[in-house]
Point group: C2
Chain length 280, copies 2
Amino acid sequence: MTRTIAQQAELALLLEVGTTPKPGNVDRHRDHNELHFEHFLAGAVGASAGLEALADPDGPPIGVAFERAVEGMSDQSGGNTQFGGLLLLAPLVRAAALGELTPDRARRIAEGTGVEDTVGFYRAFEHVDVAVADPPEDMDTLDVRRGSGAVPAVRQRNLSLYDIMERSADHDGIAREWTGNFERTFDAAEAIKTRDGPVTDRAAAIFLDMLAADPDTFVAINHGEEVAENVRERAAAARDGRVDPGTLAEELITEGINPGTTADLLAGGLFVALLRGVDV
Amino acid sequence: MTRTIAQQAELALLLEVGTTPKPGNVDRHRDHNELHFEHFLAGAVGASAGLEALADPDGPPIGVAFERAVEGMSDQSGGNTQFGGLLLLAPLVRAAALGELTPDRARRIAEGTGVEDTVGFYRAFEHVDVAVADPPEDMDTLDVRRGSGAVPAVRQRNLSLYDIMERSADHDGIAREWTGNFERTFDAAEAIKTRDGPVTDRAAAIFLDMLAADPDTFVAINHGEEVAENVRERAAAARDGRVDPGTLAEELITEGINPGTTADLLAGGLFVALLRGVDV
């Protein structure tokens, strides 16, 4: 194995977008109108300096390194490609840099974040438009869409990035990983490791399992919870062989439905699987 | 632009394999039996440390950095993915690190190589099986398939990597670039720059133009010159609209014909185009 931890993370992002079919997402065989496969290639390469900062045990706070990764990711014309994937990878990469990558070590990294991580997180929204949920009314000053404008309020309240993730965990699948021992991520990694065949074929099967198991929160934010539940049911039909996954992929692309959080979870799972010895 | 020179080179490798249709090559929509798309993703990521060494003006001799890139590229189970592409990129990346990337500057880098570059080049063959032509009878001790075993003969004759490329230019399209002002590479870059649309669509058109213009030397080495000329004619038919390029792609994959040198030239052209401001 000659790949560094940062390179494994970058490769995980590339394998994620290379995995097909991945119903609703940009994948090896499908683009959205404005968001193309090649934007994800550039996004992954652009993120690499930030990933290296995350993989440095003495590197900057993970929120600051995350902002660097998002800035580099954004150097392409498609828009948001891997914001959620990088947010999930951030604590995982830093944990891997400090020892064996376990849920416990990743949890300690997440819980150990401070206000500087939060500042980096908010600044990351300056680089790219990210679809997010409306904040609760009393949280308006902390709306991530304010970007750097929210930094004074963040500092005043001395909120850690873990605090922010706790406030988002009810409606955001990545925040739920941060505050829930990265359970789905590590489960995905083990499932990838257990299966046979090319890693991207394994990943396609796991993607469908995940989409069939839980409504995608990115779909819920963009289209409502009913649509997210409908997508989950259709993914279950594809998983169970009642619908061709390729057909579902075409349908969701046509409907403009992009289960991006499930793709982000897959990227995290691929990263853990690569570190645990899955070959490409 | 936040991407470094090394990152542009890595992205060029990724955009090359993401370009489709690229008749006969692994591309976004097609695999060969043993050589898959995901192997190229891992190859590009793995090459990045070597590309960084190439992009360092004070870095090691380019042949030594090339060996590092090939070693990293080889950390996947598909075999040779981008050996030729990296051999073409090596002088281009170093030239770009020293100033504006022009044919003249690239030529001076190529001509300025010494015996240590050649040693690195030969050692690179230790990391991966590369299809090459038989050497002339009096060159048997310099057969690249000897890998490090040829190093004593290389040192004794004090051959530069440019010398080696001169001896291969009649049958190898990459060596022809090294010794011919990188003419096809820079032509490809300008053609990519001139066209409109997504960069991978532009690249697909240029690939067909190149394959229609000159017989692919990798096809000639593996299948003979007649087959290479036949592929060139079929590519011309596809370029002229007499055959669907996707159909030709399917045919060549079925026939096991892989015009790898033309793909390598495209990777070089994409690198130059990215440096000259083509957006992704």
